[in-house]
Amino acid sequence: MRDYSTRPYALGGLGIALLLWGSTWGLLFAPREAYMGDVQRIMYVHVPTAWNAMLALTFAFACALFFLLRGGWEWDARLEAAIEVGVVLSTLLCMQGAIWAKPTWGVWWDWDPRLTTMAVLLFAFGGILALRQFVDDPVKRAVWSAVAVVIAYVDVPIVYFSVKWWNSLHQMQSSPETVSRAFHWPLRINAFGVLLLVAGLIDLRTRLAALRREGELAAPPVVAERATPAPIGAAGGTP
């Protein structure tokens, strides 16, 4: 069933509007941070990106479980959308992190548990996107990527704790509880802005994936012949 609703555009548009509002507030009107100065203002996009990247990948995990346990092509389409948006957000997150780290810690990269876990997640889910590209059979592609998502997601806490034992230096996570009151509102507005934008993107990408799958499953004549053998005695069929 084709879905032509304007929901993804409405979600995305609202998300962009909130992001503009929150970022303008954060960049121009929120007070300067005492130690880091203006550099700290990247927090208003960095922290919402981090939350939503985890959320998108968690949604991918949920889609994978639903697909494996219940089946249904809609879960495969959602899985594809969630992995892709999650990988884009994780890439942005690592880049923003590096930009923030250089002036504050003096290095682009640090082997901190959260940073390293995010990088590992980025490569794990990027690998799953590659797997999807290299499997032609839509059924195998769907099952394998769902299995790979479950395996990769279960690894997250193990990677986190193993890197934590190995090394650490990251500042405490920024959240409305750990940052000063003056920074709350732009952070919250941006968090919801990114959330809505991500929801809109996943929605739109799901629709695209579903359309592609529809095209693939409406098999061309040659494949259809192989997949469903003609009944004995059918026109032209030699049993």
């Binding site: 290299f134 499997v135 299995v147 193993s162 190995w166």
Partner: protein, 221 residues
């Protein structure tokens, strides 16, 4: 249980019959160890410091060859389809192959240790502990590796895909195994080896059960 024994026997026999392949993979691992030392230069202390890391990287690189090969033979003449038609649980097939792969990687790891000792002067007197870490690390590589090899053997660009999927996943195995091995070589005044071994055991417990559950979905058609 008898299905598992039969599957394991089949895979071990297959490895024995293609032992030239195993030797070739060992030579690959040993040459990787030789090449790593050129990255550091002829500094005995620095080489000794990094010996554990090099050993596990060599084993990890060799493991992708060994794992891919283990399913390649099942793809020939559609052997996998034949195996799945047998009245045996797909899980028995998975565990047979995963155990055979873990044994092969353990053997490979044990064979690479003397090369490491000679090249990097990185020996240890605690050989049973080192063997334990090699067994746990090999098992940790083999559990998800065998499952991924089952997928990638049937996909295009399989040589690229297997490491792409496996490497990020086994970061905890690599970390824990390198740390533990390094502590064995350089000394362990704080008694930390135990906690790294516990991490390896937990990774193995999680992935040996999870991959066993998921394997059936991967090979079913």
């Amino acid at each position: 249980m008898s299905a598992l024994a039969a599957a394991l026997r089949k895979d071990l026999l297959l490895q024995w019959r293609t032992r030239a392949q195993v030797v070739a993979i060992f030579v690959f691992g040993a040459s990787a160890l030789l090449l790593f030392s050129f990255a550091i230069g002829p500094h005995a202390a620095a080489l000794r410091q990094h010996a554990a890391g090099f050993l596990w990287l060599a084993l990890l690189l060799s493991s992708t060859l060994a794992l891919a090969e283990s399913f390649q033979s099942e793809m020939e003449h559609r052997a996998l389809e034949g195996l799945l038609l047998l009245p045996a649980d797909a899980r028995a097939l998975y565990y047979g192959k995963a155990i055979a792969n873990a044994l092969q990687l353990t053997l490979l790891g044990v064979a690479l240790v003397p090369v490491m000792v000679v090249l990097y002067d990185a020996g240890t007197a605690r050989l049973p502990a080192l063997l334990g870490i090699i067994v746990l690390g090999s098992a940790g590589l083999s559990a998800p590796g065998t499952l991924y090899a089952a997928m990638t053997a049937q996909a295009r660009a399989r040589q690229t895909l297997l490491p792409l999927l496996l490497f990020p996943l086994v970061v905890p195995v690599l970390l824990a195994a390198v740390k533990a091995t390094s502590l064995l070589i350089l000394g362990d005044p704080m008694g930390q080896i135990r906690s790294w071994a516990v991490l390896l055991v937990s990774f193995n417990a999680i992935y040996w059960s999870l991959c066993g559950l998921l394997f059936e979905r991967v090979v079913e058609d």
